[in-house]
Amino acid sequence: MIGEFFKGLFLMIWKAATDQPDPKADFLQVLPHAIRPVAAVVLSITPIMIVFPTLFAITTWLERKGLGRIQNRFGPNRVGPCGLFQPVADGLKMLTKEDIVPRSADKVVHFLAPVALLIPTLLAYAVLPCGRNMVPINIDAGILFFFAVGASTELSIFMAGWSSRNKYSLLGAMRAIAQMISYEIPLIISTVTVVMIAGSLSLVEIVSRQEGYIFDLVPRWYVFTPWGLAGFVIFLIASLAESNRSPFDIPEAESEIIAGHLTEYSGFKYALFFLAEYLGMFAMSGLAVTLFLGGWHAPLPFLEWVPSYVWFLAKLVALVCLFIWIRGTVPRLRVDQLLNFAWKFMLPMALINLVVAAVWHFTAPWSFAGAILWRWLLCAVIIAVPYVWLGRALSGDKKLTQRTYRYAD
């Protein structure tokens, strides 16, 4: 019995590691009938609960190191080799801190907010295909589910801001709501292009549509089409805003409102917020990988022997590094700039991208010589002209001049 149990366990891990279909089946055979459904669920959840929080720990280290190097300093280098155990030290610090709740706070909501933020963030992973046969649940409307649970994070941020009874918390929460609702629209419209072309709302289906290579060289990822490229950029910018990352981190702008909705949180609850924020960022990056970067497909045909989940994680980490790079470069926007950018620039561009996707789709039957070049050119013009025009119109006639001070001299 015990021998069979371990045999099944190792077989399952082996099958999962080598990309074979349905790794859980053999192991579930060993277990009693009654606990099989529960065991299947637990086996699906456990890897997510291990891999992504670990990635969170590594990312905090990577971020601090990367930002340090960008600012010409070392970053953490005291705990362990190259400061690698810094996340452990940070975690210990967070967990041993006193949990302070303001006397005038709404205690129940204050307690519920971090939990209510973490749960939907984790739920979003349920539909992300992390590997060839690795998706916890393959539902037909995967994208819809993803955005539905993703949108509920706004509620918990407002819960946090409201229940703290602190002006900074409330201001931060209001900013967060304004920002997330504004950027959700271009985010979803840019994914709609993918749904239009792939003809499916299932993320597994979308990944399988990006299989194969053009001339055995260029992968058929959506990012290598004009609408996909534009959509990817729009998605990336919107997902930065959606995960409250710099330069869109005005909900927790330190210089203005202390820490926004996090002001009154400390210790473990603060750690939960932090964790949820990063998990949300990973989920968004994972969705970007799935929609535009070919999901778990290898970038080149001869690299296909590498297990699929390695490619998924590699692309995800690459996107996270890009986010860190952007954070180290771009300063924070002002609230009005942020909302203007969302409504006056991102939304029109996302809508135009829908047209580009349609043009790309309906010019597919073109078969004359050099048709692909003409299709690219047409789509590029449709996207580039409004981009340049909008850019000029929005920045207006404002010329940068020497600032004159009337009173302070």
Binding site: R69, I70, F74, N77, W325, G328, V330, V388, L394
Partner: protein, 206 residues
């Protein structure tokens, strides 16, 4: 064009990122407890007492005149004068402080004690690693802790110390010359026949 500045900025940060791995001029961090940069010559924090010779207690330049104690704005110096003169490092009899305490938790590093000292006996130190687990006793330095050699003074403030040494040497030469002249004059008066003193009505110069 829109986004141009962001691309330029990203290129700049990428240059910083890569440059910090191979270009020492970009990564200027000094990892403090392991490596230290020597203190600047003009640095100062708390005073110390200079001594000459090899025995710190005998060689103290301080003669317990208490000027610094009186001038110290936050009153952090405490001096008790010795009752009898004691031989210094060259055997000359000098007054010396019996107690000389500086409470560096009170000291404000103003350097006034250094400026008023006529004997070049008190100078400013550059040592800043003074953390202590006893915030009362540990920060009250007595004369044994305060006494530091002239060589140490040369090491931390080379230019200033040479000036001080030159000044002291000049003064010593002057004193020596005067002593010599006085001795000669004394010898001469002793050798000459003492003349009777002139007695007369003193005239008021008016």
């Amino acid at each position: 064009m829109l986004g141009e500045g962001i691309i330029k900025g990203m290129a700049e940060t990428a240059r910083n990122f890569i440059g910090s791995y191979h270009d020492p001029s970009r990564l200027t961090t000094v990892e403090y407890p392991e490596e230290k940069i020597p203190a600047k010559e003009n640095a100062r924090n708390f005073p110390f007492l200079v001594f000459d010779g090899s025995d710190p207690m005998k060689g103290l330049r301080c003669v317990a005149c208490q000027i610094c104690e009186k001038e110290c704005p936050p009153q952090c110096i405490y001096i008790v004068k010795d009752t009898a003169k004691k031989p210094d490092y060259i055997g000359k009899l000098q007054f010396q402080p019996k107690t000389f305490d500086i409470d560096i938790s009170v000291c404000m590093s103003c350097q006034i004690c250094v400026e008023v000292c006529p004997f070049e006996a008190i100078k400013m130190d550059t040592n800043f690693e003074l953390s202590n687990s006893d915030r009362f006793g540990g920060l009250l330095l007595d004369k044994h802790e305060l006494a530091k050699s002239n060589d140490y003074y040369h090491k931390i403030h080379a230019t200033e110390a040479s000036e001080v040494d030159a000044r002291l040497a000049a003064e010593k030469a002057k004193v020596d010359a005067k002593a010599k002249a006085d001795a000669e004059a004394k010898a001469r008066t002793a050798a000459a026949v003492p003349k009777p003193a002139l007695h007369g009505q003193p005239v008021l110069a008016k």
